[in-house]
Each structure stands twice: as structure tokens, then as C-alpha cells.
């Protein structure tokens, strides 16, 4: 029993489980959660040409963020929404360009679907100043972005920027959150202007659901599961949908691990008591 306490056995089981689940395809249902559906419904109801702001705060190609980012940008593409991307996390600034290219919007030029840079979308690049920067952007966009965009084009030459002067011009802010500034900053600085804020984040939704319950977040999407749900909602199954079996297995394994940990703990404690008596 003492040997069972070694966490490396757990690592081995986890590794084997991941390997098997990546090789075997088990069709797994993807139930849609209300908070993910709320985001989808809100975006889906926006009229064509509405301005939305995406805060790119991630930079990894894995299933935690990428499937949601792809599905969401695809949704905006289909709905003919106009998109503004900012990157408040310095390290992930070049990622927005890759995302725009991969989703067909085009990286600074004309995209696959005929989206024109500067008219239908813009990549403004780094948003400095963390929460202070977010607050200033809400009040006065030219105060933050007044020279060039990410691609070095003059901001004044971009027609889309004529319609984006402050927070009130934006219909929704969607944060893809892996790295600071925290979503609280957006909620604190943009909600007073009446701008709905939505979030895709890593981990479980428990931390953010209280904000969804109170209406401070209009939608919440969590990790691979959120990505899979959004893929299902827009009808384009991708990486996250394919990994639903794996994530389900991990949830089950974690639940079993918790039970085993408690059983092992009490077995060890009671055995010691017996030895003493």
C-alpha cells in the first residue's frame, strides 16, 4: 500500500490513458452548456457589420485555446462581423497574425473569403499598460492607437478605425485568456460603458460562472470542452471535438484519483493506529 502512494504510478496510468485515447476514437456526445450557448447566441444575433473586439491573450497551438479561437473567428466570418484584434499580453502579439491567416481572414491583406484588411478587420497589435491601457482604450481609442497598426500601416488610413473611437462602438469584447491582464480588468473598465464581455479560458468554469450569473460576463467557454461546444454550435467539428473522449477520460480519472487518495490516506492512518494498539 505504501508503494501505491508513489505518484509516479499515477503518471504512468495518465500517460498510458492519454496514449490510448489519442489512438482510439470513441464517439462521445458533446452536451452544450448554457454559458457557452449564451455567447454563441449573442454573437449569432448581432447584425452584419457589427464591430467586435477580440483580446488575444494566448499563444499556444494546442487544444485549450486554438479550437475555440478558430471556431469563434469562423463564426464571426460567417456572420460578416467586423473584427478588431488587440494583444495586451506582450509575448503573444505575433500570435494574432497567425490566427487571422489560419482562419481565412488574411494576415494584413485580403483573406480567402474576400475579407479586406482595414475594412473588415484590423490587427492593432500590442495594447500597452495592462488595466490602465484597457481603461484608456475604452475612453479614447486614438489616445492608445494613433500611429501604426501591427503591420506598420497608418491607423488613419484604415476605414474601420473611423468607426472605432471608444468602447461604445463595440458590440462585444471576447477575451481569449491565458495570460494577464486578467478578465477582471476588461469587466471593470468596459462594463460601465454597457459593452458585453465574454471569455474563453483554461481550466474549469467555476471561477468565472459567478460573473456569468450576475451578467458581468455574457458568455463563458472553458478549455477544450468549451472549444468542442463552440465547434459543435458553429457546425465545424475540429481538434477539440476530437479530443472530447480524452478530456472526459481525464475528468473521470481525476474523480477516481480523489477517491483513491482518500481511501489510501484513511487505510494508512487506520493501519498505523492498529500497529500502535
Amino acid at each position: 500500500m505504501v508503494k501505491l502512494k508513489d505518484v509516479r504510478y499515477g503518471y504512468l496510468i495518465l500517460l498510458a490513458l492519454m496514449f490510448i485515447m489519442c489512438q482510439v476514437t470513441i464517439p462521445t456526445p458533446i452536451p452544450i452548456l448554457r454559458w457557452t450557448k449564451a455567447l454563441y447566441d449573442y454573437v449569432d444575433a448581432l447584425p452584419a457589420g457589427s464591430l467586435i473586439l477580440v483580446s488575444n491573450q494566448y499563444g499556444s497551438p494546442g487544444p485549450t485555446f486554438e479550437p475555440f479561437a478558430h471556431a469563434f473567428l469562423y463564426h464571426c466570418f460567417q456572420k460578416d462581423l467586423r473584427m478588431i484584434i488587440v494583444s495586451p499580453a506582450l509575448i503573444f502579439v505575433p500570435w494574432a497574425d497567425r490566427l487571422l491567416i489560419e482562419t481565412g481572414w488574411g494576415g494584413g491583406g485580403v483573406g480567402a473569403g474576400g475579407k479586406v484588411y482595414g475594412v473588415d478587420y484590423v490587427n492593432l497589435g500590442f495594447l500597452p499598460g495592462m488595466e490602465a491601457g484597457i481603461a484608456t482604450l475604452a475612453k479614447d481609442v486614438p489616445a492608445v492607437y494613433n500611429a501604426n497598426d501591427y503591420y506598420g500601416k497608418p491607423i488613419s488610413s484604415l476605414p474601420i478605425m473611423q468607426d472605432f473611437k471608444s468602447a461604445t462602438d463595440i458590440k462585444i469584447v471576447v477575451i481569449i485568456y491565458d495570460y494577464n491582464p486578467e478578465p477582471y480588468s476588461w469587466m471593470r473598465q468596459w462594463r460601465p460603458y454597457g459593452v458585453p464581455v465574454a471569455l474563453h479560458h483554461y481550466g474549469g468554469p467555476a471561477t468565472w460562472l459567478p460573473y456569468w450569473n450576475t451578467g458581468d460576463l455574457i458568455g463563458v467557454s472553458s478549455d477544450i470542452d468549451g472549444g468542442a461546444q463552440y465547434e459543435t454550435l458553429v457546425g465545424v467539428p475540429g481538434l477539440a471535438s476530437a479530443l472530447t473522449t480524452l478530456s472526459s477520460a481525464f475528468f473521470i480519472l481525476q474523480a477516481i484519483t480523489i477517491v483513491i487518495a482518500s481511501v489510501v490516506f484513511w487505510y494508512g492512518k487506520l493501519s498505523k493506529k492498529k500497529e500502535v494498539t
Binding site: V7, G10, Y11, L14, M18, T28, P29, I30, P31, G59, S60, P61, G62, T64, I91, P94, W95, D97, R98, P128, G129, M130, A132, G133, A135, T136, D140, A143, V144, Y150, Y151, G152, G204, P205, A206, T207, L209, P210, N213, T214, D225, A228, T244, T245, S247, S248, A249, F250, F251, I252, L253, Q254, A255, T257, I258, V259, I260, A261, S262, F265
Partner: protein, 212 residues
């Protein structure tokens, strides 16, 4: 500079900034609001300078590690400094961060390294689950039961199978809407009250340093 002034000046600046920010949000007076807005812009610029200072401090620390041959550290410091120099060269050369070379470097090294580090998180979560969630007492038993319910309710497959039959969806909704929201509100309110108390202490000069 006199030692007292050295210690007092930052607090005067902090107090001034706080008062201006508070006043601009409570008093409708355009020049004050304009001044507050300009102050916020200045803070934004200063924050960017702090990045430069941070980079210099990091380089200084790693240079010292290398020159002192610090055990178990100087090898990593060499790697850090070399990587930094390579990134700076490509970022400042023709095309900047949008150049093909910089993009290749960014996507070929930084992103895979970041992703590999994230991959290890699975094992960290597993280890933390095993070590952290043990029913040592009645309180922790409650936490363990809630964790198991949440995990089963969160997993897509288990949610689809047991969500309705075991009423897990309803239980999970209640946990989120009542318990989690209530606790989060409590934490948020107490944190904010603590922040206000801290600011008041700073304003009246009772709080000299953060760690006091």
C-alpha cells in the same frame, strides 16, 4: 537627497495620483477629467519603461550568474542571454517582428516551448489532485464530495450519461449559482474592503511599504 524626502516623495506621488483619479470620477469638471486622463496615459508610458528596466535587471542577474559560475544556474543563464540576443537581433533587423525570420523563430521555438511546458501541467494537476484532495476531516470530506460531483458534471461524457439521470446538472447549477457565486462575492467584497483600507492607510501615511 535627504533620507526622509526619499521615503516620503513616492507616497506623496501615490496619494496625489489616487486623489486625482478619485476626484475625476466623482466631480464633473472637464479640466480635471482631462488631467486625470493624461495622467493615466503617462502611467501607461511609465509601465512600458518598467519593461525595459525589467529586461536590464534580468540581463544583469544572468550576467552575474555567468561571471560567478553560479552552480546549477550559469548554464541556464547562458541559454537565456543567447536566446535574448538572437530575438533582439531579429526583432530589430529589417522587417521587425513581422519579418519572416522573426516569425519563424517565434513559431519554431517560443511557442513549442510554451506548449511543452503546458503539457506538463496535466501531470501537475494529477499530482495536485492526489496530494491535495484527501478527506482528512469533515470539512475536507465536503470539499472532496463537491469536487467529485463537479468533475463528473464537467466531463462531457459523464455529463451526457449522468447529467439528467442522477440530476447532476441541476446539482452543479445550484453549486455554481448559490455556493460558488456567494463565496466568490464574499471573497471579492472582503478583498475590496481590504484594498480600500490599504489605500486609506497609504493616503494618511500609516502604510509605508507593501510588506508592512
Amino acid at each position: 537627497m535627504n533620507m526622509d524626502i526619499k521615503r516620503t516623495a513616492p507616497f506623496v506621488v501615490i496619494a496625489f495620483c489616487i486623489l486625482v483619479a478619485m476626484a475625476s470620477r466623482t466631480i464633473t469638471y472637464d479640466p480635471l477629467r482631462t488631467f486625470s486622463s493624461q495622467l493615466e496615459h503617462t502611467v501607461g508610458v511609465l509601465l512600458n519603461f518598467s519593461i525595459v528596466v525589467g529586461v536590464i535587471m534580468q540581463l544583469w542577474m544572468h550576467s552575474r550568474n555567468i561571471s560567478n559560475r553560479k552552480p546549477n544556474a550559469w548554464g541556464y543563464s547562458i541559454a537565456t542571454v543567447i536566446t535574448f540576443i538572437i530575438f533582439v537581433i531579429f526583432a530589430l533587423s529589417y522587417g521587425g517582428t513581422g519579418s519572416v525570420m522573426y516569425q519563424a523563430l517565434y513559431k519554431g521555438t517560443l511557442i513549442p516551448a510554451h506548449w511543452a511546458a503546458e503539457g506538463f501541467l496535466v501531470f501537475l494537476f494529477f499530482s495536485a489532485t492526489y496530494r491535495g484532495y484527501r478527506a482528512r476531516s469533515i470539512e475536507s470530506l465536503l470539499m472532496v464530495v463537491l469536487a467529485v460531483i463537479s468533475l463528473i458534471a464537467c466531463g462531457p461524457a459523464t455529463r451526457a450519461i449522468f447529467g439528467e439521470s442522477l440530476r447532476l446538472n441541476a446539482i452543479y447549477d445550484w453549486l455554481n449559482a448559490v455556493l460558488s457565486t456567494g463565496v466568490n462575492r464574499g471573497i471579492l467584497m472582503t478583498t475590496m474592503v481590504g484594498s480600500v483600507a490599504f489605500m486609506v492607510r497609504v493616503l494618511i501615511g500609516k502604510q509605508r511599504i507593501m510588506s508592512e
